[in-house]
Every structure is written in structure tokens, then in C-alpha cells.
């Protein structure tokens, strides 16, 4: 009999809720229900297909039999990873993560380069009194577009009187995407390394900058006894309690895009909206698909590291077109992957995409 892992393949009733919820259905050859059926019968699966999954989690959140289809994908990918039958770019990302602890293969020694232009010093978390860690995320530590985000959040927290520290070059990739690529061994290694540091330095609280890191640290590291939150939750608390005052208006129509790992997978819908709502002058708009039904930007599940074969309309483009149609001045979001994927079609169509911290920097 087929062995059941985290997923529950054998209990699937082929109802199609997963396919009907999947952001890749229809336009790509990816049919998640069909893959689950193939797994039930252990029949052959075209090795290109499993890589379409963006790990948005909608299937697993909605599956009436709790089959956890997105975990089935991880099972399938794991076998492909074991056999080495994986796209070259994915292979490269795994190798990079193994050597430099980030999928882009940038030098580990430069992980704290984003702190260089700050006009105040950020201490190592071990030197802080409250042992509150800012977990930066690989893409925000290295990517020139995203490096501004940790710098912004550091300034905002500093202004709000929140004491925090970082791990600097000791921070390793959280492993969220690596687990979803199917390389469990590497995930274990990354987790051990991070957990070791968290324990050694007595970290009591983690503020994660990326929803992806937050998800991994919150749900996939076991019970560490450490409070993990996303920075938008912390910032909203600061604004709400009056510790952080908004001094300037922002006269724009802003449409907010829910990141899957922040919204549907972790239920954080209101903190980012509350922040926007607290800024005078902001006219908030909503996508037709918002909150639990937010349309995935297709940046998750390893999709940041490679391109799938089929040419089709990207969800990011669908998002940008709707934002334009609704008359939004800009799209706001709170995830580095969403920023990257949305900005591509946005730039082409003359739409602006801003990470929430970037808007906050203009009004504080």
C-alpha cells in the first residue's frame, strides 16, 4: 500500500476543489487534482509538471478531505530532487543555498550589507537587552530592489522605540522555499543552523520581514518558545498605541495585494490594511480577489528561481491590469517576492508597486 506522509493522498475523493482554487489551473498544463490521482495509483508523472505549483496553499486550506495537495507536490518534487531530474535553475538555487546559505549564491559575508547606509548602528542580537531579532530574508539582504526594505523597517522600528538586533552573516536561509522545492535534507541543515543561533543568543522574539520566513519560523521550526510575528503586525501595534506618529499625508489611491504566506496561509489580512488606513489621504481600494481569495503572484514554491516552460498570462499582469482599471495610483504589498513579480508587468504598463515600508518612509 502507498505510504502516507504529511499528505493524505489515499483519502482524496477527486472533488476538484484544489484545481478550482489553484492559481495555475486552466492556463498551464498543471492540474493538481490529476496529480493527486496519479499519486494514488503511483502512475508516471511528467517531470516538468510539478514545478508549476507556487505553494500558495489555497488547495491545502480548502481541501474538504484534508489531503494537503500542496504537500503531495512536495512529495513528488522530493523524488525528482532525489533522482536529480530537476530544472537546472532549481539545481543551482539548491547548490547556492548549500554553500552560501542563500539561493542566489551571494557571499555570506555580505549578508548585512544593507545596514551600511543607516545613520544608526544595528547591534548583533546577542548584544541587545530584549533579544528581539529582525530576521532579514535572503532576497532582502542581497537584491538591490529589495535591500531597501530591511533598511526602511529598521528605521521605522528605531523611530518607534523598538529595540532589536540582527544575526548578520550568521543568518541562514529560513528554508521555506527549499522545503517546497523538496530538498528536506537541506531544510534540516538550515533549520539546525538557525535554531542553534537562536538558542545560543537567547532570542526571545522574532520580527520577520518576509511572510515566507515568518511562515517557516512560525510553523516549521517546531515549538521554540519564541514569538514570531511579521513586521506589519509590530508596526501596526506601534501606530495604534501612538508610539509611532504619522506626520505627513499620502494623497494616493492605494490597492493592497495580499501575499499568500501573509494572508491566506497565516491569516494576517488586517495589519497591513490598518497601517494604510491610518495614513491620512490614502484612499484604499480592493482587488475583486482580496484576502482569502487573493490571486497568487506566482513568486512562491521556488518559482522565484526559475521560469516554467509554458508561455501564458502571468497573474502579476492580471493584478496590474485590475489595479489600473480600478484607478489605483499604486499597488502596495508586504512581501519581497510579490514586489518582484508585480513590478515586472507594472513597470511595463506604467503602474507603481510599493512595499508598505516604502510608503511609511514617506509619511513618518
Amino acid at each position: 500500500m502507498l505510504e502516507q506522509t504529511v499528505s493524505r493522498v489515499l483519502t482524496c475523493i477527486q472533488c476538484g476543489k484544489c484545481t478550482g482554487s489553484c492559481p495555475e489551473s486552466g492556463k498551464t498544463p498543471f492540474n493538481i487534482r490529476m496529480l493527486v490521482r496519479k499519486q494514488q495509483f503511483q502512475s508516471a508523472i511528467d517531470e516538468a509538471i510539478p514545478w508549476y505549483c507556487t505553494s500558495c496553499g489555497a488547495c491545502t486550506l480548502r481541501c474538504p478531505r484534508d489531503v494537503k495537495p500542496s504537500e503531495v507536490i512536495i512529495d513528488i518534487r522530493s523524488l525528482l530532487v532525489e533522482d536529480g531530474q530537476i530544472p537546472l535553475a532549481v539545481q543551482k538555487a539548491l547548490e547556492n543555498t548549500f554553500t552560501q546559505k542563500n539561493p542566489w549564491g551571494r557571499s555570506r559575508a555580505k549578508r548585512a550589507a544593507w545596514t551600511e547606509n543607516l545613520d544608526f548602528e544595528i547591534r548583533h542580537v546577542s548584544e541587545t537587552a530584549e533579544k528581539r531579532l529582525l530576521f532579514v530574508c535572503c532576497i532582502q539582504a542581497y537584491d538591490p530592489r529589495c535591500m531597501v526594505i530591511p533598511a526602511n523597517v529598521a528605521r521605522i522600528l528605531n523611530q518607534g522605540g523598538v529595540e532589536f538586533g540582527i544575526l548578520g552573516e550568521e543568518e541562514a536561509c529560513c528554508g521555506n522555499e527549499i522545503r517546497r522545492i523538496g530538498e528536506a535534507g537541506l531544510v534540516e541543515e538550515l533549520q539546525e543552523e538557525n535554531k542553534g543561533n537562536l538558542q545560543e543568543y537567547g532570542v526571545k522574539e522574532i520580527i520577520a520581514l518576509s511572510p515566507h520566513c515568518m511562515n517557516a519560523l512560525k510553523k516549521e521550526y517546531g515549538d521554540m518558545g519564541i514569538k514570531v510575528s511579521h513586521y506589519t503586525e509590530v508596526v501596526w501595534d506601534l501606530i495604534n498605541s501612538g508610539a509611532l506618529a504619522i506626520s505627513k499625508p499620502f494623497e494616493k489611491k492605494v490597492i493592497y495585494h495580499d501575499p499568500c504566506f501573509l494572508g491566506k496561509q497565516n491569516g494576517i489580512f488586517d495589519a497591513p490594511r490598518n497601517i494604510l488606513g491610518a495614513i491620512p489621504g490614502v484612499t484604499p481600494l480592493e482587488f475583486s480577489r482580496a484576502r482569502e481569495t487573493s490571486l497568487c503572484c506566482e513568486g512562491g514554491g521556488g518559482r522565484m528561481f526559475f521560469e516554467v516552460e509554458t508561455i501564458y498570462q502571468r497573474n502579476a499582469e492580471v493584478r496590474v491590469l485590475e489595479a489600473i482599471a480600478k484607478g489605483a495610483d499604486l499597488i502596495a504589498t508586504a512581501c519581497p517576492f510579490c514586489v518582484m513579480t508585480l513590478e515586472d508587468p507594472a513597470t511595463e504598463k506604467g503602474q507603481v508597486v510599493r512595499e508598505l515600508s516604502e510608503i511609511l518612509m514617506e509619511v513618518l
Partner: protein, 557 residues
């Protein structure tokens, strides 16, 4: 002491894997054993006669029947030893079939095990004491909690038999959900007509007292003599009833907890109940496009409702027909996982719905996105294996049944149990589907799980029949397995008093020890396991008896 051991072959069931001759030989030499017999079928007539006659002839003090599990034929065997002149509580059953011969096929090991099990029975039963089933007077009246279709049916039956009935309803009006239905399948009748008919009959009855807008605030007593305090609009009222029927119904599933279906965000997304009561107010265009979704709030582990609600397939079919009847040229598409049209005439109704032009698509809709043009249904046609995205003017959610809102409240007042889905738990799903673990307290209708109207009515009537059977004679026998205090050992710490759910333990201020009110005791044994000095135990289940049984099992053969 004279002990008789009767070993059954159960045809091949026991004999096949247990060497019955060796077992018999072993016990023939055993101390105090006067009779050791084996027989092919002890439950057969000659088998029964063997037990009865040997018990009588030898004047046995204990009878050990080593056969099937004690859940089978217990009353019959008790009756036999009684006829043989022995107190039936000095009978001991040993399960050598379910616990031994059916388990393994090594004859040597099975035989050894059978000997150990029977020996445990011999040792354990040596501590037994003769007990008498107690006769108690019962109040010949019943309290029915819940005035929906099931409670009304129960009340009607009991009243017809001349039983006094207290019918308690928390709403101002009797009739529950059925009263609100405009079109009851399959008759097409208005639900209120059906209810009115029942209510009028009950109102004319002198032996029925109806309490509406009433809440039960306390409950006590024991089987045959329960007592409840009711908070009525006219003030507090106390009723005494021999038994109770709980028929508090269900709560319609609220689809707000399925955010991907958009209910509550857009008025073009409605439930089957809302469609039935307000199709005209929905402002649909001349040839509307309508989507019907099955299984909303049923068969869904994400919201803790893994069960099938049993009525929503018919309701979904009816919704389709309702739209088709009003709008001949409408486009109606029904999204299903499986169509379970199980009631009589249900499959024909499904076919009829298809003939009327409703299309059926096998696929559990992924999400509904409200757009300016309509509601966008996104799902998979699993038979084509294709994603579908279609705009509709209306989406109808066929909602299931959730447990009633007062389930926890009533369960804690009556000390009855809820099942994993938070409906009331039946004593046995097949053999005792109307009973609870408490004698004289029954459950009826949808409060024990989803049912359609016909099933709810039958369930109500069946509970009423069961209760009537218990109260009919004006007296009843209760099991003698109640708690018993050893006054020499009791230190008066009162831990058992706290543990007792039946409130049957009272502290004796003078003697500084606890005493048991036998009529209230349920024989659950909680006090027994709570007592730090082993001073309280159950009659017929002494600690010493259990200790000796364990010893017997561990002893060398």
C-alpha cells in the same frame, strides 16, 4: 463453595483453536470445582438445559460460563442460573471466543490462555455477593425538550398512549425549522400546515402541557423520577418526569466560515433557505444564470464537518427546480461531488430535475469571486478534467446541518455526551440509536446527527416508544451495581463527592464519612478510582475481585 464451569465449543469457533478436553481436565481437578462440562453449543436448548439442571442438582454457588463475550446472551444465561436456584449476579462469563480462540491459531498457546482466563473468572467470582435488582416507582410522565417536528412527533405518540407530557420549547412558537419551509419535499406542502396540524392536536390534549419561550435552568433526579426547573414567561416552574426526550434539532450551517465562497460579501450569493423564502426579491433578470453548490458545510474537514448532512442534495435539486419553474429559459448548473438522493423517490427527483434542464457538473467549486458582471464561479469540471470560470447572476449554496446551538448547555445539564461532531451521542449507533448512556433519557431527531423530515419524525416516535416501554408499568428495575462505602476505611476526605457526576454521594456530618444515595447512583465508578483509601467501590466489582483476577492470569498453570 461449589463451582460449576461450563465450556462451550461454539461449533468450531472455540474448539478449532482451543483444546477443550485439556481445559476440562485441568478444571476437573481444581479446588472447589464440582462441575466441569463442555458442550458444542451452550446457547442451544439442550445446552441451556445442561446449565440449568446441573446448577440445580449440584446446588452450585458459582457458575462460570466460558463461551462468547458477555455482550451476547447475557440475559438468557442469567435467567438460566436463576431458574437453577442461583442468584444471577453469581454468574461469571468468560470470553474464550472473542478474547482467545478468535485471536490466534496456536492451539497450545490458546489453550493455556483459555485456562488462565477461566481461572481468573473462578478467582474473581469468589468475591461476588448476591445482589437484587431494585424495583423503583417511576413517574408516568415525560418531558420533551424541543418542539420541532421530532419533538412534536414524540409528544404526540406519548400523549396518544395516555402519558402526561411536558413539551418545552425555547422559541415563542412550536414547529422549529419545518414551520419556516415553504415547500416540503416531496409533497410540496407548506411546512407550517404540517406543523399546525400536529400542534392543534397537542393543544386539545388534557395530558399535554406546552411551555414556549421557556428555558430549562436546572435538572436533577434519577431514572423514573427526574426533576427540571423551567424558566417560563410566567415565572419559574418545576416539572417531575419519569424520562426525558431531547429533541433540540440543528442549526443551519452559516457559510460565512467558508470565505472563498463569498457569502456575506455579495447579495447574489444566497443559501438554499434564503432562495426558498425570497426568490422573488432577488431581482433576477429574465433568463437568469444560476449556480447551485452542493455540500456547503458538509463533508468538509477544514471546518470540522466531515459528515454528510443527508438533506442538502435534495434541497439543491429543489433549488434547481424552483428556479426552472419560475424562469423556464434560465441556465441552472448544479455543482456536486456526489449526488446522494437517498430518500424514497429521491433518485427519480434527481432524474426529473435533469429532465427539467438543470445541468450537473461534477466538481466542488473552488471559489466564487463577485464581479460587477455577476458572480464568477471558478472550479473544475472533474469529468472533463478542465478548469471552468463562469459568470452567474446568482449562486445558491446548499447548506448542511450543524449541531444545535444549545448542545453544550443541554449536555452539561443532563450529563449526557456529545459525539466528535458535537451532536448528541447515541448509546449504540445501530442497536440503541435513541438511547443515551443515562437510563430514561433519549435523543430524537437531528440533534443526534443530520436527518431528513421523515427520519426525524420516525426517530421522535421511536424514542417515545422506548420511553413509554420504560415507564408504562409505573415501576422499573434498576441495576444493583451501585457504589458502596466501607465505613471503617472512609476518612471523610470527600474527594468522591467532588468526583460524582450524579451527585449521589452525600457527606454524613455526624459520622464524618460519605454515604451513597443508591437511587441516584449511575454505577459509573468515578468515586472508586478517586478514593485514596479504597473505601468506596461498586457492588459486584470489588477491588479484591479484580486483584485476584490479575493474580490468576499471572499465576503458573
Amino acid at each position: 463453595m461449589k463451582i460449576g464451569i461450563f465450556l462451550c465449543h461454539c461449533g468450531h469457533n472455540i474448539k478449532h483453536t482451543v483444546d477443550v478436553a485439556r481445559v476440562k481436565e485441568y478444571f476437573q481437578k481444581f479446588l472447589n470445582v464440582a462441575v466441569a462440562e463442555d458442550y458444542p453449543f451452550l446457547c442451544s436448548e439442550p445446552g441451556q438445559e445442561l446449565i440449568r439442571s446441573r446448577t440445580e442438582a449440584e446446588g452450585l454457588d458459582r457458575v462460570i460460563i466460558a463461551a462468547c463475550a458477555p455482550t451476547l446472551h447475557q440475559d438468557m444465561f442469567k435467567d438460566l442460573v436463576k431458574k437453577g436456584g442461583l442468584n444471577p449476579f453469581l454468574l461469571r462469563r468468560v470470553s474464550v471466543r472473542e478474547h482467545c480462540s478468535w485471536v490466534g491459531d496456536d492451539i497450545g498457546k490458546n489453550t493455556d490462555k483459555a485456562i488462565r482466563l477461566i481461572k481468573a473468572g473462578v478467582y474473581g467470582s469468589s468475591h461476588y455477593i448476591p445482589l437484587e435488582e431494585k424495583q423503583v416507582d417511576v413517574t408516568q410522565s415525560a418531558m420533551v425538550i424541543g418542539g420541532g417536528v421530532s419533538g412534536l412527533s414524540a409528544a404526540l405518540f406519548l400523549s396518544n398512549q395516555g402519558m402526561h407530557v411536558y413539551l418545552v420549547e425555547k422559541e415563542a412558537e412550536l414547529g422549529g425549522h419545518v414551520r419556516k419551509l415553504r415547500n416540503v419535499w416531496p409533497s410540496g406542502k407548506d411546512g407550517s400546515e404540517l406543523i399546525d396540524e400536529m400542534v392543534e392536536t397537542l393543544r386539545d390534549r388534557e395530558n399535554v402541557e406546552i411551555f414556549t419561550s421557556t428555558r430549562m435552568v436546572s435538572f436533577g433526579g434519577s431514572f423514573g423520577n427526574y426533576e427540571a426547573t423551567l424558566e417560563t414567561p410566567a415565572g419559574e416552574s418545576t416539572v417531575k418526569a419519569g424520562g426525558v426526550i431531547v429533541a433540540i434539532g440543528f442549526a443551519p450551517f452559516d457559510p460565512i466560515s467558508k470565505p472563498e465562497l463569498g457569502y456575506g460579501k455579495d447579495k447574489r450569493i444566497v443559501t438554499t433557505l434564503e432562495l426558498e423564502n425570497g426568490l422573488d426579491e432577488l431581482g433576477l433578470p429574465a433568463n437568469p444564470r444560476v449556480a447551485v453548490l452542493h455540500c456547503v458545510g458538509s463533508r468538509d474537514e477544514q471546518i470540522g464537518k466531515p459528515y454528510c448532512s443527508r438533506v442538502c442534495c435534495i434541497n439543491a435539486l429543489r433549488a434547481g427546480q424552483t428556479v426552472k419553474e419560475k424562469f423556464e429559459h434560465s441556465y441552472v448548473e448544479s455543482f456536486y461531488m456526489d449526488v446522494r438522493a437517498h430518500p424514497k423517490g429521491g433518485e427519480e427527483f434527481y432524474e426529473d430535475t435533469q429532465e427539467k434542464g438543470v445541468l450537473f457538473t461534477r466538481g466542488n467549486v473552488g471559489e466564487i469571486i463577485p464581479t460587477p458582471a455577476g458572480v464568477l464561479v471558478r472550479g473544475e469540471d472533474t469529468l472533463f478534467g478542465e478548469l471552468l470560470e463562469r459568470e452567474f447572476d446568482l449562486a445558491v449554496l446548499s447548506i448542511g446541518m450543524s449541531p444545535p446551538k444549545d448542545n453544550q448547555y443541554i449536555a452539561s445539564l443532563l450529563k449526557i455526551t456529545l459525539d466528535k461532531d458535537k451532536f448528541f451521542l447515541e448509546a449504540h449507533p445501530k442497536l440503541r440509536p435513541y438511547d443515551t448512556a443515562l437510563k430514561g433519557i433519549f435523543i430524537a431527531g437531528t440533534c443526534s446527527g443530520p436527518k431528513d423530515m421523515e427520519e426525524s419524525i420516525n426517530h421522535g416516535r421511536a424514542s417515545a416508544v422506548k420511553l413509554f416501554g420504560l415507564l408504562n408499568l409505573g415501576y422499573a428495575f434498576v441495576e444493583p451495581f451501585v457504589a458502596m462505602v466501607d465505613p471503617k476505611r472512609c476518612s471523610g476526605c470527600r474527594a468522591c463527592e467532588q468526583a460524582c457526576v450524579a451527585k449521589a454521594i452525600k457527606f454524613d456530618d455526624g459520622e464524618r464519612i460519605v454515604r451513597v444515595e443508591e437511587a441516584a447512583c449511575m454505577g459509573c465508578g468515578l468515586c472508586n478510582s478517586t478514593c485514596p483509601s479504597s473505601a468506596i467501590g461498586l457492588k459486584g466489582h470489588a477491588d479484591s475481585s479484580i486483584n485476584d483476577e490479575v493474580g490468576a492470569i499471572l499465576e503458573a498453570i
